[in-house]
């Protein structure tokens, strides 16, 4: 499977799909093929951290994963395909009320998913009440808030205050992400962590779960 892992990690889209189909035709274990994708994603994450890979590669990786999954899924057993036992944690993500941007949130959601999280995405411009409601229902390990604009600061702060007021603050880790986040803003908002890139967010999340 190394050839496939390398092709994925090296962004060779045509070859990736070609090899995937070939392995399926040869009768190789679909679960193993899927694992190869997972391994490749980990490698891509490492290269992202090493500043060798950037957003284009993250997006391409997501595309290849999606296309590959379409090929593999029919060969996986139903229970295997839907099996959540491999998930390492639950992540609730949303762009906070007032902000309608979804690109950053979508990228983070995709990377989290690729890294084994079960992700519930509430979309954009989501009021605090709705996030809390969903959190009660979904019981995530981490609530991730995204905001591209500075107008997101106060709604995020309000969210944390509401969470606290409802006595839920300690039940969930709160991570904020977006271009203008920094430590100052993190303290102002009352979040547990802040990031400005997806992979850092994923690593922080894994770190929390490992603790």
């Amino acid at each position: 499977m190394q050839e496939l892992i390398d092709a994925i990690a090296d962004m060779m889209e045509d070859k990736v799909l070609e090899l995937t189909q070939k392995y399926l035709d040869e009768g190789k274990d679909p679960a193993e093929i899927f694992d190869a994708y997972q391994s490749a994603m980990e490698e891509i994450g490492r290269r992202f951290e090493a500043n060798t890979y950037f957003v284009p590669e993250l997006i391409m990786a997501g595309e290849m994963m999606k296309a590959g999954s379409e090929l593999i899924k029919p060969h996986l057993k139903e229970d295997a395909a839907g099996d959540k036992s491999g998930k390492i944690g639950k992540y609730l993500i949303a762009t906070i009320e007032g902000d309608i941007h979804d690109i950053g949130k979508n990228i983070v959601g995709m990377i989290l998913d690729l890294n084994g999280f079960e992700v519930m995405d509430l979309g954009v411009d989501v009021p605090a009440d709705k996030i809390i409601e969903a959190a009660k229902e979904f019981q995530p390990d981490i609530i991730g808030l995204s905001g591209l604009l500075t107008l997101a600061f106060d709604p995020m702060k309000a969210f944390v205050e509401k969470l606290t007021a409802e006595g839920l603050r300690d039940k969930f880790k709160v991570m904020i992400g977006g271009a203008q986040m920094d430590q100052q803003v993190c303290e102002y908002i009352g979040a547990d962590a802040w990031v400005t890139d997806a992979v850092a967010g994923v690593n922080k999340s894994k770190e929390w779960l490992a603790a």
């Binding site: 962004m11 889209e13 500043n51 060798t52 890979y53 950037f54 957003v55 284009p56 997006i59 391409m60 595309e63 007032g98 902000d99 309608i100 941007h101 979804d102 690109i103 979508n106 411009d125 604009l149 500075t150 107008l151 600061f153 271009a179 203008q180 920094d182 100052q184 803003v185 303290e187 102002y188 400005t196 890139d197």
Partner: protein
């Protein structure tokens, strides 16, 4: 490129004309002197003039002046008097060395007339108290690169604008203008123009144009007042890096990132194609406003968006061409370097043979000063979080640090590294005053 010393001469000539305040009816000799002093400070920074007296302070405002007065985003976009007055008040209160321009807020009625869908604005897709926000979509399909490359204006008029301006949707059915080349071919072309939907579209365009014309005539009084009060504006024109045109409002972020792998040749051809248009757009504004500074927001070249190899191939060459094209026309490229640019600073140093400015967002300003100090004018870097979530004392302290770090080569302009849609009075005042206090050379 031609002899750069000649280029710099042209730039200096335009700067001098701007500094002189020619054509501005000042309130008094004192305000004229104040204007000339402030513009002179900025120009000195652009020129890396060792004799400059202090660090200029230039908070880059968008909606902040209106928000800080309790004027909603919608009101700011619909009431030019309220917006204009808010900008006047901002200058009076904080005494920046360069003023922001209220027209950046844009005029809501005209957007409604056009059924504009490239952005959502207060009352139309976003809450009334907020500012306008971009609506990311694929406004150009993967197979339309050739159209853009071979005839950009045709692509804009008959493909892109119908998608982004609902009222101009009929432009998609406009026959190609080549049909007007002579008789009898002119007939069929005019018939297309005469079709009722086309007439409605042209009517909407005319109406929106008129609305904006009336709007600027109202707003203009306040703009003139700001200048008459002694405040130069921080830009005269605006354009973009060619790559960003395609990645922002044409293909969109995600699609273009994939295009880098799927059709890199077309991307290259397209960005090359847009160089001249961007130069033309920037120069037009600078000349119209008699202000040589051309604002260029840099988007997808930031750290994290692509590798240096990709930056070197897809982004930088054409951006550089635009900058030099502007310079050759006497303009000063004023790049708003959004996000972090720590990995790209060496490239920016390459433009040291022309007058230009790089206003940083989250770049490490110590590194920027180290790499670019004495070569090009740098600006910004002050965290917006300080203004929005901190105290006046903390702000004053951080401002002093920033000046110490970035200002030692005397080509620095103090600025918050983020466009200000919101603000706080006490921290904003502290920021501007600290510039005067600690910025003296």
């Amino acid at each position: 490129m031609s002899d750069m010393s000649e280029v710099r001469k042209k730039q200096d000539a335009f700067l001098d004309k701007w500094i002189s305040g020619e054509g501005i009816e000042f309130v008094s000799e004192e305000t004229k002197a104040a204007y000339q002093e402030r513009a002179g400070l900025l120009a000195a920074a652009f020129r890396l003039d060792d004799s400059i007296k202090r660090v200029p302070v230039m908070p880059m405002t968008t909606f902040a002046p209106t928000m800080m007065k309790g004027i909603s985003g919608r009101e700011a976009m619909y009431n030019p008097d309220a917006a204009g007055q808010a900008y006047v008040d901002f200058c009076e209160t904080y005494q920046p060395d360069a003023a922001g321009a209220a027209p950046m807020l844009m005029y809501g009625p005209a957007l409604e007339t056009l059924k504009y869908n490239l952005y959502k604005w207060p009352g139309q897709g976003v809450p009334e108290n907020l500012s306008y926000q971009f609506h990311e979509k694929e406004y150009m399909t993967a197979d339309e690169y050739d159209k853009l490359i071979s005839d950009p204006t045709d692509f804009y008029l008959r493909t892109w604008m119908p998608r982004t301006h609902g009222a101009l949707a009929p432009f998609a059915d406009m026959p190609p203008v080549y049909g007007a080349m002579e008789l009898p071919m002119l007939g069929p072309w005019l018939i297309g123009i005469g079709a009722p939907p086309m007439q409605e579209a042209l009517k909407a365009l005319m109406e929106a144009g008129k609305q904006c014309f009336d709007w600027i005539n109202t707003m203009g009084a306040y703009l003139n007042k700001i200048m008459a009060m002694g405040f130069p504006f921080y830009a005269g024109g605006a354009c973009k890096a060619p790559f960003d045109v395609i990645s922002d409002s044409f293909r969109g972020t995600t699609q273009l990132m994939m295009d880098l792998y799927r059709k890199p040749d077309k991307v290259l051809e397209a960005v090359e194609r847009l160089v001249q248009p961007m130069i033309d757009a920037g120069v037009a504004g600078a000349v119209a406003n008699n202000n040589p500074i051309v604002f260029i927001p840099l988007h997808k070249g930031a750290d994290g968006f692509m590798s240096n190899a990709q930056f070197e191939k897809f982004y930088w060459p054409t951006l550089k061409k635009v900058m030099y094209g502007l310079a050759e026309a006497g303009c000063i490229p004023g790049c708003f370097v959004e996000g972090g640019y720590n990995q790209r600073l060496e490239y920016l140093a390459d433009t040291s043979d022309i007058r230009c400015m790089y206003l940083f967002d989250r770049t490490d300003m110590a590194k920027a000063a180290e790499t670019l100090g004495g070569k090009v004018c740098i600006a910004g870097g002050f965290p917006v979080s300080m203004i929005l979530t901190s105290t006046p004392e903390k702000v004053e302290e951080e401002t002093k640090k920033m000046i110490d770090v970035a200002g030692k080569d005397k080509g620095y302009i103090l600025s918050i590294g983020c466009a200000l849609d919101e603000g706080k009075h006490d921290t904003m005042l502290a920021f501007c005053n600290a510039a005067k206090k600690y910025g003296q050379y």
